[in-house]
Symmetry: C2
């Protein structure tokens, strides 16, 4: 009855769906960062040609989807489903960015884990024969995130050392039932984990335990070890969260010291760009996946990777009411071959 499930949280795709196309777009800081060459489009205008930052964020999602379709030789009508969400209240980055396409739309909310959730669900629906092509897309924008979650941008408030910098970026990945890979071979659905961190300026520490929970489940349920992968990459834990993961995973018996990194450490140069703990935002992991990581796999740099973005499921209201920060991490295994190792 549940023959595709191999554990409490992990499923194995029977006929692993393939990445068919992908595209990403970034802003000025992303242009100045070390991954600039891996972007399809970089735009120094924070409005992306629109009148407000929110409309600009929507434009990023729209452009990322359009580019991914073009690169894959696909039209909107070829997409059976699109999974999308973002950090804005009521996910308006997605709804206003994608309404013009007329594609059957599943709205999702996983904060910065959204790209992992979208990829996992898209892969499952394709594997089961509910869809031939399905896309996952998400975004974040420094200015929309700051004014919604923290302070008005022009106020210029001082940031704490544990704070991260929200990426102004979007990534779109299209999966299909046929293709030359990389393939999504496994997906591990996260559970909410909340160890009581209440500081919204220390997301790395809040989200790291969720990453550990999901990664431990993935390794346990697939009977693999970190060394079975060429790269393990979380979403936007930054330096502090990254180090917490290494530490907590060690206690669980997993050595993460050799091949583990975080999209928030890859996207920016922390020192030169004064990024404090690193990059963050749903668009951080989505754009690093839909560029640096998938390109690298296609170039033969890595055979098999774990992509495990994390999300902090808080709101300003919950923080004002004294709540701690529940977090979640959804992971997918991407492999250049359909065979299991």
């Amino acid at each position: 009855m549940d023959h595709r499930r191999i554990g409490r949280q992990t499923v194995r795709l029977q006929d692993p769906p393939s990445v068919v196309s992908y595209a990403n777009i970034g802003g000025k800081m992303e242009r100045n960062g070390p991954l600039a060459d891996t972007f399809d489009e970089l735009d120094d205008d924070p409005f992306f040609g629109k009148k407000t930052w929110e409309q600009g964020e929507s434009a990023m999602q729209s452009r990322a989807v359009r580019r991914a379709l073009n690169k894959g030789g696909l039209k909107g009508d070829d997409l059976d489903y699109i999974f999308a969400g973002d950090l804005l209240n009521q996910c308006i980055g997605s709804s206003f960015g994608l309404r013009e396409f007329g594609i059957p739309f599943w709205g999702i909310y996983g904060a910065c884990s959204t790209m992992g959730e979208g990829l996992a669900l898209a892969a499952m629906l394709i594997d089961a024969g509910f869809a031939r092509h399905a896309a996952a897309v998400t975004s974040s924008h420094f200015c929309t995130a700051e004014r919604q979650y923290r302070m008005p941008v022009p106020y210029g408030s001082q940031r704490t050392p544990t704070a991260q910098w929200t990426a102004t970026a979007a990534g779109c990945c299209i999966l299909g039932s046929r293709g030359d890979g990389p393939y999504v071979t496994h997906a591990t659905c996260g559970r909410m984990v909340d160890l009581g961190i209440t500081d919204p300026n220390n997301m790395g520490a809040a989200m790291a335990p969720a990453a550990c929970d999901t990664l431990s489940a993935l390794f346990r349920e697939t009977r693999t070890r970190p060394s079975d992968y060429d790269l393990i990459v979380t979403g936007d834990l930054g330096q502090l969260g990254h180090d917490v993961v290494v530490d907590l995973m060690d206690r669980n018996g997993f050595d993460m010291t050799r091949n583990y990194t975080d999209c928030g450490l890859l996207l920016f140069d922390r020192e030169k760009q004064d990024m404090h703990a690193g990059g963050s935002g749903a668009g951080c992991s989505a754009s690093v996946l839909s560029g640096h990581l998938l390109r690298g796999m296609q170039e033969g740099k890595w055979e098999r990777i774990v992509f495990a973005p994390t999300g902090a499921l808080l709101s300003p209201t919950s923080s004002f009411q004294g709540e701690s920060i529940p977090s979640i991490c959804h992971a997918v295994v991407l492999s250049r071959t359909k065979q299991e190792v």
Copy 2:
């Protein structure tokens, strides 16, 4: 490759998953309404024993899930997945309501269409063998919605005739690979539809075209007519939206005058309770489904129904920026037998 798909938007479940259990909870207005007898729990305290309205909304979701589990003789560990979302910024009704359960969690956002989205995705993952049991849950709360979307409640602002009343309610429905029905036989995924309505106090008119788009696709792709169902019920269009649907569907060649109603018209007595256009909110359709509708089906009142909740994908920010209101409707067919008619 996509053998479960029968049209652009509709899929047929190969081995239709069964409703295994369901539960709902409501507040004071729901107690005074005509469906009071169909609730598992009614609580006059708008805080549901907590300190804030938002925490109260989370408590509703938590209690609805716990009751549904108990009624079905299930434990949290029996649920392979839970799909949840709500209207609050960053869906904190769900994250704080469900974090204690430790159930693999897919956060979704479809505004008031959330119950339709959750049921559809849960049914698909069960049908494909990714899960044995999966739940869909959502909620809304008059006070949290008012203060977030409109005006502070104590301000007591005048409401327009087209305004609706947000239900203070939650509903949870658990699906399983085995059971005695009702069964989810088909799911139609919505596309975003935006005909340019900009008045956030007239959600019915904004969402009705989305209901028409999805219902028309469902009838066309399943080769059925409205008369093939005992009941067709949208989520929370209220009186005005209901009438727009009847009108627009007539132009598409579908007669909706005989067996079509709306959860927002069922939950409250519009005249006696001074509800203007009717009830609304994600909890409106979720609680009417997880009580009145599923009970009625089990009692033999209806053999086959279409449940089609609609969502308005706006935020106060998008309205302040002059945007119109993109809407969406996700539909599922529930049937007492697995066979197609």
